[in-house]
């Protein structure tokens, strides 16, 4: 073998191994990525299931332009049909929020249609593609439109009828659409159930509230919200450009527009305004809404606060109809609209009241309001960085006074509150309509998270009075409207904004849901006691926290008097704090996979381990071989790709032998030795060491010492530590190791205590051979032990091996060098391409001197001289001489005969068959 190939081999092997290792890791990583991508893909598919496409048709339905008006206007509608439903199905009419159109209802409509409803969405008059002007849910206009649409639904063959012209129908909508649902239920007896969301009971009261009682005539104008509300009806959709006060009525009807202008400019209500707003309010027909109603109101809603839903609930319950109330974490101010939960509840509600075969009988005697659900914050979810929501519920909606009231004393002196000229600068309770300004679309569809930005509240000193409670000794939920009693004096017309803060021990304050309650007190120059209904909230006051009541003269969201004034504010009683202890957060439990996933994983793991077990090497020990160090029979190993590395190899090694495993590179020697160590598993055949079958971890391997394909040490430890730790890893007694002998063989001297990483190749080699000899194994296997050693070391190594075998132990040495085998071994096994070529005692294989090559220039004469000699088997000519098979004759006799016969003899050499064969093999490979 040339030096180049000798050096090239380990490199080539190392390189190819590296590539396969690396590519396998790469494959593993890729496989995992594929799994993740698959999860993603399946997720995307499941979320938008194309199979459940909902058939939809668009149509314009003409309705009367106004009461007694022969003109007709077109209403833009879309009808969604339940996919896969034959026969008639109940219908749902969906109305949108202010400033929106039917487009925003598509998802809700499709969800309902998939639940088996015929759904009609439409754009209200003045919005979207519908003609006409905005009349603000007036009974003769918007409500009449809805009734006309119900007429149309009654003509559809897909819609189930309760009677001629009377479809089974529910109405749902948010905000503007919610009020429309309530009003339609009042004006049209064909409506079977409604699910209004975040909407008003009394629009006049919502826009001109007065928390001290007294009604909208004495209300404080909610100018910010009113402006937003108005502007979203005067401008093209989606834009909120400044309104031109002279011309800008947009799509509002003239009479609505005029009323708004009057109020907006004056900052006070007018009888016309109250009249107009009242007619657009369920409050005006509160005694006529008598269908099952699901009221969904947002806790983050300074436009239509919870008390609007409270009054709707009370009215409907009075009429004897079932009513349920849900407080979500959303609302017009943003927060979390909980769209999925709302959609589920609305669908469930309709399933309950629209699906039964018999229509619900009309309501009769007053009943208590039904179930009550409140969404509560349950801490922050670190995975989503969002507030986690929990839903608390109780069987009966108790109203805003709660089921239990607690008096909480406040402390604070009488304080003077100054109203700044022009009403500015203002205190701030929140930023109303932030969700809308952020471009969320209509007033009914709100961006999630917008409320998080509105968490600003402050009260200008000098313009505000502060009263504070003691620390709460235990945490308390406030559910409903807290009432406060104060005495105000100093002016005839006093406007104040009352807020209830939660004050943490560290001084941090929270204004729950950013809500303020405006009050207007007239005729209070000499002082008046007023009871303030603070905003309805659901809020937990932790133990150690205090409540702080603040009354401030201004608020960003409201119109306050422009004239400078100063009021005096004093306490007139404790706070009355309502709570509903019956509210109970039902444990939602954990999704099935919380327990299922680990269980599945354990099952998968068991399956992997059980199917992955190799058949145990069950072959019994062979007592006949108990003293045979090594017997290999029919050993076969096929590498991936089909190449046979070892092909039906059989040989046997007896005790005391030094066996040379000889073969060119690639002959399968190393593979054989690896199988011998239990590192790789044969595809066929077996290896027995002292009669025991070898497999991975076979205990008999402890009788084997090995050095195969280079040393393997921990580079960060010294040679001595390496040997010591290796021996400790075998778990055998320290005394059995014979460290001294092994270290003597390694001959490393002082280097023994240096880190292995500093060793030369030869030093590592010697250390590795020493490691193989630790414990003086009965069978010592060394792969190319002299590689990298210098000639004196090679010689010494040879002596070591011969000496080792002389103790009765057995040595197997692999080599590709014939000379080395010849000098060291007693026996030899020759391999080529995985096959056994020859085996036997070295002398026998290497050549025993029975064949002589005699060099002579006259071969013919030589043949003639020799062929008849006794003890000569045969004589044949060969290049440069003759080949003689001896059959007993001595070489010296032959030479004497030849010389005697006058044959010139150049040389006499023993023919070494093996070498010839071996050289031929190497030449081929």
């Amino acid at each position: 073998m040339s030096l180049r190939t000798a050096l090239g081999r380990p490199f080539a092997v190392a390189r190819s191994r590296l590539t396969t290792r690396r590519s396998r890791v790469l494959a593993g990583v890729l496989a995992l990525v594929v799994v993740i991508v698959a999860i993603v893909g399946v997720g995307a598919l499941v979320r938008d299931d194309p199979a459940a496409a909902v058939p939809a048709t668009e149509q314009r339905i003409d309705v009367a332009a106004g009461p007694g008006d022969p003109a007709r206007i077109g209403i833009d509608t879309t009808l969604f049909l339940p996919p896969g439903v034959r026969g008639r199905a109940p219908a749902v009419l969906l109305a949108h929020g202010f400033g929106g159109s039917k487009a925003e209802l598509r998802r809700d409509a499709e969800a309902l249609a998939r639940s088996g409803y015929v759904v009609l969405t439409y754009s209200a008059r003045g919005f979207g593609g519908s003609a006409g002007q905005i009349m603000l849910d007036q009974p003769d206009y918007e409500v009449a439109d809805a009734r006309a649409l119900i007429d149309w639904l009654a003509t559809r063959p897909e819609v189930r009828l309760d009677g001629p012209g009377d479809p089974r129908v529910g109405v749902a909508g948010a905000s503007y659409g919610g009020a429309l649902a309530l009003l339609t239920a009042a004006y049209d007896p064909r409506v079977d159930t409604i699910a209004p969301q975040i909407t008003w009971h009394d629009l006049a009261d919502a826009l001109l509230p007065n928390a001290a009682g007294g009604g909208p005539a004495d209300g404080v104008f909610k100018k910010m919200w009113a402006g937003l509300f108005f502007s979203s009806g005067t401008n093209p959709l989606g834009s909120l450009a400044p309104i031109d006060a002279n011309t800008g009525c947009g799509r509002f009807a003239e009479q609505v527009c005029a009323v708004y202008r009057e109020v907006a400019v004056g900052g006070r209500s007018t009888p016309q305004a109250i009249d107009l707003l009242r007619r657009a309010s369920p409050a005006s027909v509160a005694d006529r809404i008598a269908v099952p109603t699901l009221l969904i109101q947002g806790q983050n809603d300074s436009l239509f606060p919870l008390d609007q839903a409270d009054r709707n609930a009370a009215a409907i319950a009075r009429n004897g109809a079932p009513v349920e109330t849900v407080w979500t974490a959303g609302g017009h101010d943003g927060g979390r609209p909980q769209s999925a939960m709302v959609r589920d509840r609305v669908t469930g509600w309709f399933d309950r009241w629209l699906k039964p075969a018999q229509a619900t009988p009309r309501a009769g005697t007053p009943t208590a309001a039904g179930e009550f659900r409140v969404t509560r914050s349950g801490g922050v979810d670190s995975a989503t960085r969002e507030q986690r929501l929990r839903i608390a519920d109780t069987g009966h909606y108790p109203g805003l006074g709660g089921t239990r009231q607690r008096a909480v004393a406040l402390a604070g002196p009488e304080q003077t509150v100054a109203n700044p000229p022009g009403g500015a600068p203002t205190s701030v309770s929140g930023l109303p309509g932030l969700g809308l300004l952020a471009g969320a679309g209509s007033l009914g569809a709100l961006a999630s998270g917008a409320g998080d930005l509105g968490g600003i509240a402050f009260d200008l000193p000098g313009q505000s009075a502060f009263f504070q409670s003691e620390k709460f000794d235990q945490s308390t939920w406030i559910t409903g409207s807290t009432t406060a009693r104060v005495r105000v004096s100093g002016a005839d017309d006093i406007v104040l904004f009352a807020k209830l803060y939660d004050v943490a021990p560290g001084g941090g304050t929270v204004l729950p849901h950013q809500l303020a309650a405006p009050i207007r007190v007239s005729g209070a120059a000499a002082g008046r006691d007023v009871e303030i209904r603070l905003p309805a909230i659901d809020h937990q006051v932790d133990s150690g926290h205090r409540l702080r009541l603040v009354l401030t003269a201004t608020d960003l969201g409201f119109a306050s008097p422009g004239a400078p004034a100063s009021y005096r504010v004093a306490l007139a009683g404790p706070l009355t704090v309502p709570s509903v202890p019956q509210l109970h957060v039902a444990s939602t439990g954990y999704p099935w996979w919380t327990w299922g996933l680990p269980l599945i994983a354990v099952l998968v793991a068991l399956a992997l381990l059980l199917t992955g077990r190799r058949r145990a090497a069950a072959a019994a020990p062979d007592p006949a071989l108990a003293e045979v160090p090594l017997q290999i029979r029919g050993l076969t190993k096929r590498y991936k790709g089909g190449k046979l590395a070892v092909d039906d190899l059989s040989f046997r090694v007896e005790a005391g032998q030094v066996l040379g495993l000889l073969g060119p590179n690639g002959a399968g020697k190393t593979t054989t030795l690896r199988m011998l160590m239990g590192l790789i598993l044969p595809d066929g055949g077996e290896i027995r060491i002292f009669g025991r079958v070898v497999g991975p971890g076979a205990p008999v391997l402890s009788r084997l010492g090995s050095f195969v394909e280079g040393p393997g040490f921990l580079p960060h430890l010294s040679g001595r530590e390496n040997l010591s730790l290796y021996w400790r890893a075998t778990g055998r007694p320290h005394a059995d190791a014979h460290f001294d002998e092994a270290l003597e063989i390694a001959g490393l001297g002082e280097a023994l205590d240096r880190n292995v990483r500093t060793y030369s190749q030869g030093m590592r080699q010697r250390l590795a051979i020493a490691q193989a000899m630790l414990g003086l194994p009965d069978l010592l296997v060394l792969d190319e032990p002299t590689n990298g050693l210098d000639p004196p070391q090679i010689r010494a190594m040879r002596d070591v091996l011969i000496g080792y075998a002389a103790t009765g132990r057995t040595v197997v040495v692999s080599s590709h060098l014939l000379a080395e085998v010849e000098q060291t071994c007693t026996h030899v096994v020759v391999m080529h391409r995985g096959r056994l070529i020859a085996s036997g005692p070295v002398g026998e294989i290497v050549g025993n001197g029975n064949t002589l090559v005699i060099g002579t220039p006259v071969p013919d004469l030589a043949i003639a001289t020799l062929k008849d000699l006794p003890g000569v088997g045969s004589v044949e000519p060969e290049e440069g001489g003759v080949l003689v098979q001896l059959a007993g004759a001595q070489a010296s006799v032959l030479v004497a005969e030849l010389v005697g016969a006058g044959v010139a003899v150049d040389r006499v050499t023993a023919r070494r068959r093996l070498e010839d064969a071996f050289l031929t093999l190497i030449g081929e490979s």
């Binding site: 922050v380 941090g508 998968v604 190799r614 008999v700 778990g731």
Partner: protein
């Protein structure tokens, strides 16, 4: 090599025993004792470097805060705003900044390197031929790698606590939202955090350990595990996936933050533990299955 041969014993009582199934004193269950494996791993530069880094990090952060001054609160309250309030706050902050990557790397290093490095040093084949049974070798290596990982996950908060006491003083744990927890309760919560930290990293451990049995390149195993965590984090950022993200290996790795609020939340940690344990169990099974059948050619 010495010129003279050592005297090799020839006829000790134990040698050679005809037909003995194993060498005298050899017992499979006594091979590769955990202590031996711990020593073999401990002296590695990589182990010492990682432990040193984890011990130094709190001091680096202390220096950063001393140079940069106290953090000023942002619009959204976070752990960094209150990092310098007390030792406990500083510890929570240190954990928060290390969880996403540094601790992942540490765990991936200890678990990903352990088998692959033996393969790359070629020492694996001698251990297996000693013979250390394959399953035992993996078990011991897993226990030691886990031990070092837990050590890393405990050392960091411990050192942060010490550094925090020296730099910022002992005191209650201020929560970002304004409340604060008394020291006793806060210490209890912090131990929950550390325990969950260990459980949440089991998934990284499982992936790294499996890769370690697949490859002979130690950095391939470590890098592969870290890479998968990075991929998982990126996919986790796609909020459009909705609840499918719940099953990502790293989705819940910050769930321990849930106990650092007045109203501690357990959902995230319970779900996170379920996901992490499930992944870990499967990957460990893959590792044992693969290693048990593998042809060792390193």
């Amino acid at each position: 090599m010495t010129r003279t041969l050592p005297e090799l014993p020839t006829d000790e009582g134990a040698h050679p025993i005809p037909g003995a199934s194993h060498a005298p004193g050899y017992r499979p269950r006594h091979t590769l004792p955990i202590r031996v494996e711990a020593v073999r791993q401990f002296r590695r530069r990589r182990t010492l470097f990682m432990i040193g880094l984890l011990l130094a990090l709190p001091w680096i952060l202390v220096a950063a805060f001393k140079i940069g001054g106290d953090p000023s609160p942002d619009a959204v309250p976070t752990l960094v705003d209150v990092a310098t309030k007390s030792a406990l706050n500083f510890t929570a902050f240190t954990l928060f900044v290390s969880t996403g990557f540094l601790l992942v790397v540490a765990v991936a290093l200890f678990c990903g390197d352990t088998v692959a490095s033996e393969a790359s040093w070629s020492s694996l084949r001698y251990l297996l031929a000693a013979p250390v049974p394959r399953a035992r070798l993996l078990r011991v290596k897993l226990v030691v790698a886990l031990g070092y990982s837990v050590l890393a996950l405990v050392l960091l908060p411990l050192m942060a606590l010490i550094a925090g006491v020296i730099a910022f003083g002992w005191g209650p744990l201020d929560l970002p939202v304004g409340a604060s927890l008394p020291t006793g309760e806060a210490l209890g919560r912090m131990s929950v955090v550390v325990v969950y930290g260990v459980v949440a990293q089991l998934v990284v451990m499982g992936i790294a350990f499996w890769l370690s049995t697949v490859t002979d390149a130690p950095l391939g195993a470590v890098g592969g595990a870290v890479g998968l965590v990075v991929v998982s984090n990126i996919v986790d950022a796609v909020t459009a996936l909705g609840s499918w993200r719940d099953y990502l290996p790293t989705h819940w790795q910050f769930a321990w933050v849930d106990v650092l609020q007045t109203d501690p939340q357990w959902d995230g940690m319970i779900k996170g533990s379920a996901v992490s344990v499930a992944y870990a169990v499967v990957f460990l099974a893959l590792a044992f299955r693969h290693f048990g059948r593998k042809d060792i050619v390193s």
